[in-house]
Symmetry: C2
Subunit: 587 residues, 2 copies
Amino acid sequence: MNNHQRDLTLYNAHFIDGLSKAGVESVVVSPGSRSTPMALLLAEHPDIEMYVQIDERSAAFFALGLAKASGKPVALLCTSGTAAANYLPAVAEAKISRVPLLVLTSDRPHELREVGAPQSIDQNQLYGTHVKWFVEMSPPESDEKLLNYARRTASRAVYISKQAPAGPVHMNFPFREPLLPDYDGLFERLDFEETPAVQLTIGSRVLSKNETEAWAKTLKDKEKGLIICGEHQSEGLERAVVDLAERLGYPLLADPLSGLRCNQFSSELVLDSYDAFLRSPSIKHQAAFDVVLRFGAMPVSKALTQYVSAHAASIHAVIDSGGGWRDPAGVATHMIAADERQFCEALVKALPERKETTPWARKWMQANQAAQSQMKSVDEYEELDEGKMFYEVLKRLPDQSSLFVGNSMPIRDLDSFFFKDERSIRLLGNRGANGIDGLVSSALGAAAASSRLYLIIGDLSLFHDLNGLLAAKLNGLSMTVIVMNNNGGGIFSYLPQSNEPKHFEKLFGTPADLDFAHAAKLYGAEYERVTDLASLERGMSRAAETDGLFIMEAVTDRTESVTAHRELWKKVSQEIEKLTAGDDFWK
Amino acid sequence: MNNHQRDLTLYNAHFIDGLSKAGVESVVVSPGSRSTPMALLLAEHPDIEMYVQIDERSAAFFALGLAKASGKPVALLCTSGTAAANYLPAVAEAKISRVPLLVLTSDRPHELREVGAPQSIDQNQLYGTHVKWFVEMSPPESDEKLLNYARRTASRAVYISKQAPAGPVHMNFPFREPLLPDYDGLFERLDFEETPAVQLTIGSRVLSKNETEAWAKTLKDKEKGLIICGEHQSEGLERAVVDLAERLGYPLLADPLSGLRCNQFSSELVLDSYDAFLRSPSIKHQAAFDVVLRFGAMPVSKALTQYVSAHAASIHAVIDSGGGWRDPAGVATHMIAADERQFCEALVKALPERKETTPWARKWMQANQAAQSQMKSVDEYEELDEGKMFYEVLKRLPDQSSLFVGNSMPIRDLDSFFFKDERSIRLLGNRGANGIDGLVSSALGAAAASSRLYLIIGDLSLFHDLNGLLAAKLNGLSMTVIVMNNNGGGIFSYLPQSNEPKHFEKLFGTPADLDFAHAAKLYGAEYERVTDLASLERGMSRAAETDGLFIMEAVTDRTESVTAHRELWKKVSQEIEKLTAGDDFWK
């Protein structure tokens, strides 16, 4: 090794081993020249698993999905220039959805910046406020001081990315040519110590005993309370928040991504059809509450948001370990920066036991029951509109599988049709910025760390990240993609502009006329077109047996789906109006 | 109209009409909800042409290509959230390649920012240093003061985007619900004046008479000079720089994207095979020069960069109307911020006429001739390696057509095999950041403003922006895509790591095994697989007759292509060594 190669090799090796010892187990690499030293050494490290995706936008979403499903920080590596710019959508999503990513971008060295050199853009602060930390790394050197710096900065980046709220960190590495490190067998030769240079411990935010007791005192006599739980990163929160609901006697409105609709956390207080019954004016306007305790991200249900905005609660508390300001409706009265699980557990201990269900909770359970029986009437439908299709797919998901859902309509249909049942199914989505981008890759990244994974997605969203499918082939992964192909943007049919035919199809409907059978062939996927229950049944059976990619394309109709959804909601409303008729129900 | 709708409608209408009056003729829109008021009014404006692309990354590159080919600023519109983040790669490319774009992003209003509302990311300064100007627009109001502001800010944005160096401007628009404007027939009702609110005039930077005369005096007796011309935005520079070369007797090394290899600017001094002969050591080390005058972006030829770096010139002047610092080799001695064409024209006037070719220039012409005759020997090759394929395609391009070339290998093959000839062919590429991303869309955007357009691109690059193909169908555009499918990253085979088989295919070769016949079917394109001269001939004939998309897939081999290229360069070197044998040639 000459001096240059020694600097390049040792500096990067120390950095990479530092990442590994700090807990990074996976990296997603996109091919490039400038990133050669890092890429070869990452490939060589014995404890780092490497995934490859050529499109950097998809690569970053893949890393996001993998980090989300594994609960561990994932590294990303790309070459210099616009390659790095392609990471921004996933980086922005990771920041908001609190997913730890280590974004490693290679860069031209200082003398080749802003002088018209090829593949060089300004990478300093490239992701702006969308990362938790940006660090411009030193050019490689191999004296002890710099190797220590490389190793420690790796630890520090992991440390920052994992602290609540978790999120992405960006490290920019200038590399001079020649770019080839002396990689072969390097980590055996270097024989790094087992312990990391810096050991990382991250404590939790907890309330004092007095603060907890004050909350218990405040809440214990308030009957009309609600607990709302969205997607969260608090391990073990599900059990704790159900216990709290039972102790307080509060209905627990559980977003599908909360993990609470799984049978193992079952309690009569866990409600799963509130999106349907909160559309009904009699509940929306009459069911006034005193207390809301909210955990995790805002649920997807717009009806719920409108309902909580329609009443002034004496207490609307947002409990968030990340100390975020999650209050889109502008109704919060208390912000509590505390670990969600520990908050619930401490409060349960401080509260008296509760013997029986309160009248308030019983009414909510009745409404949920009434709404749900109507929603489940799709079981008898013969027409396969989008909602029915969704329902039938959900019914057939195997126990212990994972389901990733797209944004726009799929997450809303999931909210409508995923009811509590016996199976344990992991539900995942990208609900940070709710983009329709990157969903194929996010799901495939999650598939790399999950049980058998299904993705339900609309046609525009599948088109947007079609490139994501390549990662299945390149990395030997399996996934079933169920595309609801309504030939365009289905959600716009629910918005006011759908009543204005002028420009509608061009600007909003945007029919792309894509037959995904060709996409299946392009990416070596098995394929089934679903047009009726028999083909849906066949598709789901094949999916359970297929290794690699499997695409099920369900061709649906935007207009019919809107009509069917609206009819169903109307039936729910009628049922709720019947149930709550008379002035006394909510008294 | 209620007050809210009046604000929304009039404010956006004044802004949009302001854009139109300031010279914006086209907009590329991606569907979304938050952007509804702007989208509907843009669709309604009589003088704005609207293109639609669902994938925002592709949409932005489409706008870039359209702006580049038309020479006019193009607007972009998307919804809030990660949609806007998808623009970054094209925005970064536009900044460096100096293309005027008006990036209009719609945003949640202030009360819905950073509070967990859906589809909301921090869009302030989203593109950082990669735009020339960022403006956070006011929420819509319709009093005279705000309408004046909307109208004038539109003019101002166009003004900034067009000033040299041209580039992208970002305007962020917060919109509150409801989002529907009163659009139908609005511009007829409003009946705006024909003249814009502010009339825009942008002067040129020119040298004083004394400065020009000083340059003429300095240069007129220096024989050993070179002029180098890359891609540029200076209208009419081609004629002016050829005149200057003839006046000075300097060889003019013309990058393919300079526009100088077209016959209409023909001069014996315009050299087009320097990339081949500058690889030869005898020229690289012996042909010492005194003067370099450089115009436009750095040429693609690495051999040229290495050659100019190997000698200390007494003058290495970079003439740039944008006042940029284009000096990747770190060899410039003079930076001249001046309009390139006017600089050349003024200098020609100040210089004496030249009667005959200098010995220095004659040697360069001889070397060019010797190299080119070898390069043209591929004409007789029987094997269709990538270089030969490229050569045969170029030979068959119709007069008056346009050619967009991909980065990585295609631009290098273009440099090697596009010789000056009778035809007038417009050559285009994305040489700002030289990414392999967004090329399909950039080419299709250019196709919307060009004569019949051909795109030559590698398989990884086509994969990266495969979504770009959808815009052909959505907007009724025609283009021929010629994909050199060598199943992976061909350029890596020319780099040192190609000698190290460990990890090579996984990290650099990345064979994706894509058969683009399926992609053609997915996007409704005509398709021809090219395996020999007969199918190439057939493909090129079909291309000339096809409306809509046409894909020609040439299956090549990475290893064979490297070997063939190297053999060809070796033959050139041998020829050059023969020509320059003896000590006296460069004396």
